[in-house]
């Protein structure tokens, strides 16, 4: 081994006294962003009530202004609406079809009904369709809507055995496909566990596209997952369904953060659920700041029995908008790791 050299000698003098500033700088005017362009008010009628909202608002925002409860599944405040679940549809006078409240912009003079027979039927059917094809056991919101709208998903028949709903093939089905109407097709499939941080149970996926948005341009811009396939075989997938460690995934977990059905889940939560030790009602949530870099991300620590069991971030937090990185989301195990005094 080469002999160690001393530190080279061009060391510069340190602690050379810099002059101490004399007068404090006076405060300037309070800085503000440039004023936003004024928005006109738009007047419309929802369920016979008149409401005025700023131009560019959505029907959903108008409904919420009036306190009208509108179910949503694929909608999330911090993402652009994709309006695919169609559970938020409302009746717009003069429109042949129902319109999605989450994305349709208000116009002057619109007349909206949110509780007509047509609206209720569509919402109920959407919920029944999902509950009959997807495992909604960890989607309390969807279950509540289902009850509220009187859905009976079992009326489409018993769930098809998982063999019939394995990893979708590329063969084009036709008249002689396995369907015979005795069972209802589902998206049942084995849970994907390919890393220690989070699991993917696509039998619980309602294809709301939120994870794709969060992985893509709306937050993380990693694009590790996309929707693949078509029709009922559509699914969230990496390229050629490769396991996550072979994909572009950077484990920011922002897909978990937006998943409404528990299809994407912390491995820690999944393991506790499997072991029967997951007790959400016993958990406390505390907001704090991430211990790593200096960006200042708010972490919501979910704590059960003095253990962190998962980490989220508030959607309305202006630094994170609910999104974190791998360290903030998963890097908390050292708190209970070896090396801490017991």
């Amino acid at each position: 081994m080469e002999k160690k050299k001393p530190a080279i000698q061009e060391r510069l003098p340190f602690n050379e006294p810099a002059p101490c500033p004399t007068v404090p700088v006076p405060p300037g005017p309070i800085p503000a962003p440039p004023p936003a362009a004024p928005r006109d008010q738009v007047t419309l009628t929802v369920d016979d009530k008149t409401v005025r909202v700023p131009e560019g608002s959505t029907l959903l925002e108008a409904c919420r202004t009036l306190g009208i409860d509108t179910p949503t599944l694929c909608y999330l405040e911090n993402l652009n609406p994709v309006n695919v679940c169609r559970v938020c549809v409302v009746e717009l006078e003069g429109s042949r079809t129902l319109v999605p409240a989450c994305s349709r912009r208000v116009e002057n003079g619109m007349v909206i009904r949110t509780d007509s027979e047509r609206v209720r039927l569509s919402r109920r059917m959407v919920l029944e369709f999902l509950a009959s094809s997807v495992n909604v056991s960890t989607a309390p919101e969807l279950q509540a809507y289902l009850e509220q709208y009187g859905g009976q998903p079992e009326r489409f028949g018993p769930a098809a055995p998982p063999e019939a709903a394995e990893e979708p093939g590329t063969e084009r089905p036709a008249v002689d496909c396995p369907t015979d109407g005795r069972t209802a097709a589902t998206v049942a499939q084995p849970v994907k566990i390919d890393n220690d941080l989070y699991i993917r149970d696509y039998s619980k996926c309602i294809l709301c596209y939120k994870c794709v948005q969060a992985c893509g341009e709306e937050a993380q811009n990693t694009f590790a997952i996309a929707v693949a396939g078509r029709g009922f075989d559509s699914r969230i997938s990496t390229e050629y369904s490769v396991p996550l460690p072979d994909s572009a995934c950077v484990y920011c977990g922002n897909c978990i953060g937006v998943c409404p059905t528990g299809a994407l889940m912390f491995k820690s939560e999944y393991d506790m659920r499997e072991a029967g030790t997951w007790k959400e009602s016993d958990q406390e949530r505390t907001d704090t700041i991430c211990p790593y870099c200096g960006v200042g991300c708010t972490l919501t620590l979910h704590v059960q029995e003095n253990q962190i069991v998962k980490v989220t971030s508030p959607l309305d937090q202006e630094v994170t908008r609910g999104h974190l990185c791998i360290k903030g989301r998963f890097g908390w195990q050292f708190v209970r790791g070896k090396g801490r005094k017991k």
């Binding site: 695919v84 489409f156 036709a174 008249v175 693949a228 997938s237």
Partner: protein
Amino acid sequence: MDLHIAGQSPDRDERSAVDSVLGPLQAGKVESYHLQQERPDRSKRHLLLPVLHAINSRVGWISPGALNYACSRLNLPPAEAFGVADFYGLFSMKPRPRAVIHVCDDIACLIRGAPAICEQLAGRLGPPGAAEPSSGLTWLRSPCLGLCERAPAALVSAAGPKPWECALAPARADALLAAADQPEHRPEAPPVPTSRSVPQQGQPGLRLLRRVGRLQPESLKDHLAQGGYEALRRAVELGPERVIREVMDSKLVGRGGAAFPAGRKWEAVYRARSSQPVRYLVCNADESEPGTFKDRVIMEEDPYLLIESMTIAGVATGCERGFLYVRGEYPLAFERLSHAIRQARRHGFLGKRILNLDLSFDIEVRRGAGAYICGEETALFNSIEGYRGEPRNKPPFPTEVGLFGRPTLVNNVETLVNVPGIVLWGGRSFAAVGTPGSTGTKLFCLSGHVGRPGVYEVPFGASLASLLELAGGVGGSGRLQGVLIGGAAGTFLSPRELDTPMTFEGTRAIGAALGSAVVMPFDDSVDLSRILLRIAAFFRDESCGQCVPCRVGTVRQEEALFRLFGGDVQGIGQAPLQLAEIGQVMSDASICGLGHTASSAIQSALARWDEFSGLRQGLNPDH
């Protein structure tokens, strides 16, 4: 962007397939990142679909090495490119034999011999898609190939250094196997006289079909000799506003199915010029509605007519770039249009300084890849742009926010080819033909149990009965059970509705729609329940999967139909109610027209339950 491209590298074939579209890789451009000072171009995503076609037809499937290479060239994440490729029916995401026989088993072919072909192929090659990649040959079932007048139809494709595709109709199993057994050699398709497709060929009074069979489709000279480009010259004389005025006066409405006034779209796109200098013209030639083949006949037999029509539209509305999106299953139309565009460009009818004037317009042809949904205009935009062919939410409408986010004029083939006549003879004279609500002539696609199947052109106003008569009356047993009009998204009519005028208003009056002008009669031997199940399967298969009502609804609809016809499965009593509710949520709450109409034909047949003997047969016990 920080792409993560891992796994397989491209081999020579895969590389050359991608390079054939994108050009050879410049040294040090992608593979040595540290040499690259600027962000790679992300604006080439729209070349993804052509690249995927090149890969699929070179190596027979979309292989990971090829996709990785394409992604590195296009600066695209592999997961996204995979999601796009996996969307299309004509691409395979796993290794498969070089030669593939696509056998149409859709409604028109189903009643005209497709089951026998399928049975024979299954006997030779096993179940569809089952063959090992090394076997060199496999077969698949296909939705309607748009060759219904010559049913049964099949399309054979062979991948390799010299890939080819060949449509065979009428098809026979032995001929298909013979063709596919020699993937190195493109088979000589037996010549089929154009009169098989256009029985009216040569008759007086035809407008759109006037030249079919009378010119060499490849020949620009022929086109010019028979009045070609007179309309374009006239349009230039008239100027944009006058041309649009004429189109308005003609009351021409879109022939693609939605029946929207063409002039209003033209004007909107023209008007947008002040705020949006870049606008696009799109010709929707993704003719995929089962039973529809009229646009194919025009494109194959009179390609310059369409090219000239698009040029007029581009010049009139000020779009300098047009996209012509041709259905992937129409190889001959694609070939002839591509050739016609090259010829027109070479002779100054496309490109910069058209007719030596200060006018620019050019056309890019794009091939679909097996997705009915891409006939929906906004899904078509996404497909051109290199995204999954998922429809967009409307509003905003294409004339405001269309292709690449720009104002876009999108018209169907038949709509556009009406334009030269309107320009030459005036909008008013066009409007004088037909009925007040449906002006001009109309192309109808007659297939199924009819004497002389083919495309027929008649002035609007003819009744369904007279159309059937024109086409040689009811075929098969000669005893009519019912007629499907408008295609899989259309309506079943019973024999007592034969006097319905085949106009927009006439069909609307009985709760039907003209749709893509399919007229498909079924004789009394047909088990209509099988037809309905095939239609249900079609929508289940072609739903893009984006919205819940359609993605799950098309599946539940098919299941409920099985219960309805099966008789012995539980829930029989509920099936009609379920079908009605499924139909309602699909038509009320789906994003696009596919979902809106996915239950239309089925509901119309069930509404005529007592009149269709074939429905009450139920499923055959052996099925």
